[in-house]
Symmetry: C2
Subunit: 399 residues, 2 copies
Amino acid sequence: MSSELSFDFEVQQRDGRARLGTLQTPHGEVQTPLFMPVGTQGTVKGLSPAEIEEVGSQIILANTYHLMLRPGEQLVAQHGGLQGFSGYPGPFLTDSGGFQVMSLGHLRKISEEGVIFKSHLDGSMIELTPERSIQVQQALGADIIMAFDECPPYPAERDYIRSSLQRTARWLERCLAVKDKDDQALFAIVQGGVHPDLRDESLALTLPFDTPGYAIGGLAVGEPKEEMFPAVAYTAERLPEHKPRYLMGVGHPEDLVAGIALGVDMFDCVYPTRTGRFGYALTDRGRLNLNSSGARTRLEPIDPDCDCVACRTFTQAYIAHLLRAEEMLGPRLLSIHNLRYLHRLVERMREAIAVGTLYDWAMAWGQTYFGSKADGVVPEWFTEALETGRQTPTGTPHH
Amino acid sequence: MSSELSFDFEVQQRDGRARLGTLQTPHGEVQTPLFMPVGTQGTVKGLSPAEIEEVGSQIILANTYHLMLRPGEQLVAQHGGLQGFSGYPGPFLTDSGGFQVMSLGHLRKISEEGVIFKSHLDGSMIELTPERSIQVQQALGADIIMAFDECPPYPAERDYIRSSLQRTARWLERCLAVKDKDDQALFAIVQGGVHPDLRDESLALTLPFDTPGYAIGGLAVGEPKEEMFPAVAYTAERLPEHKPRYLMGVGHPEDLVAGIALGVDMFDCVYPTRTGRFGYALTDRGRLNLNSSGARTRLEPIDPDCDCVACRTFTQAYIAHLLRAEEMLGPRLLSIHNLRYLHRLVERMREAIAVGTLYDWAMAWGQTYFGSKADGVVPEWFTEALETGRQTPTGTPHH
């Protein structure tokens, strides 16, 4: 069923469950594992297209919900799609809009047909269905588009999660039935919360569609990491070996390290740019608060080992000054640094996978990273994820 | 008395009163006429240092008042001055702080000694004197520093303007007495409002100090252009031929064209970046409002002849979308475009001066520019400035 042109994924190397891969898309080849910055409204907050390329981003996520409301998908289509609209020439991925409708609290009604929600812009009532989501995503023209799914909140009743994952599978079928463009790859989304048996049911309903990639959905919605990562491990090892695996909405440094160790290939999150706008810088020794009075007199860069323009050019004192003075260059520089930090983190993991030292690298990284926090303890969920990741998968992939 | 090292100005060509010059500063050579973007708090709003260079800026103005209050001149000095602090490696000019104190409305007392004002940040009472202004400007380390002057508002009584210009001359003497760094050039400021006889008096009191450059102060403070440009013409032709002339706080496109025709070499203004943040783009056909509903569907760039990144990469529709969505890339792109527009405008005038066609070029430019406005009429003050500018100066320079 994977008839998409210009779309191909190859796993080139493994280290335990972690993989190095190459993903071919119509707008270029990308190396996995990778982290995707979020360009909600067709722009990654704080960065120009040139800066997106400079920090090492390979593929941008854009939000269907926001763009269908404003400026409308037809205007984006008139620009030849997201690349022409945003000025970023590389690959894009669009979400389905479903998660935004539900998480932004504008949901009015959910039924077998789809969802009805109130626009956060003008209050109008709008319907989003699997068919409409695909239609919008085809107009937006991303390289990878996502199935329209339902993502239950945490906590939710087992029965609700179960009926929801079944509906998600029926919606997947409707998405695939309406999709009629060959230059976009549609990824299915596996649901099931933190329950292994429900993950099994979702996998059994989803994998027969043999989509060119799979997302692990329904996580990072409020559950503790002690529940989230076992669910990631359980699901990832049951996904096909030769398809990319995408853990949606995940992007704290420690989550990328654990997720990649468990065999995840793709991540996205607003975290690096959002925390940057709030004045925080990501480093191997934890998060640095540039709003602190201490930062105002530090004549050294955020991270002397970082190759981003913020660390190559500016002191912490200057960036702290920009934040206090409410100058937009401050949030820009921290957004750039934080994205570069996550990309470098993934690049270092790719290098470790290539030489088969991921477990040792990640354990050492965890010692430094968690060691910088108040209690200085590496959490069990993190060590367990790395231990699980170094083992050969025990589950049986459904295909 | 002009003992400054690494500082030199040469007029290379004339076309009527307009001049092409080269100004040598410790941080590099710049071509005049030129427009200086304003980096009030040590950053040009909306641009990174790399973007400042890319748009063709040659020298940045930074504000003594703002920087002495926050982060304090000592922190800037610890960075090796404004270049090390801001990451922009080229020349800087700092104002004296006097205009900011008076115009921002925080002035509490003005006396022969100096001014006492209330900090807009924490309400504390702070004294600024000629000596303190030079001390701060020396710590900031700009290539060009400005004498501490008093700039009367418009309108003001003749008697007040007269006693004020006399005090400004006494303050100039105190500034020069305390200045003890050879790698900064101190420019004096000629006052006198729109009154030729008071301009004469200020010139007579100021020029004997033979500073390496002169500013025309006290204009662009609310007077009509019909009064402002005759005062510019009168003052400029009485300034020494071999010293740069700086018209402070001026920067609308039509003002640059008229001012350069009248023999002004340097300008500064927050206008291009401020109007850009408000959603307006400068063009030869007037100011384009990207907040308008019409802009939302225009698939062409702001100006197809512009070589800035905004015009090379993005449609008006995309930039209009960014503004509506309150994405910071919108104000950034318009700030970049507007600065590039003013720099290109000056570059085109430099080319016209080089081949002796400035008058014709400026008349044609005015036809297009004012022709795009509601009444479509080229104002008399503009034509008169160009007519005056094409004539040989009639006044006698004091030196």
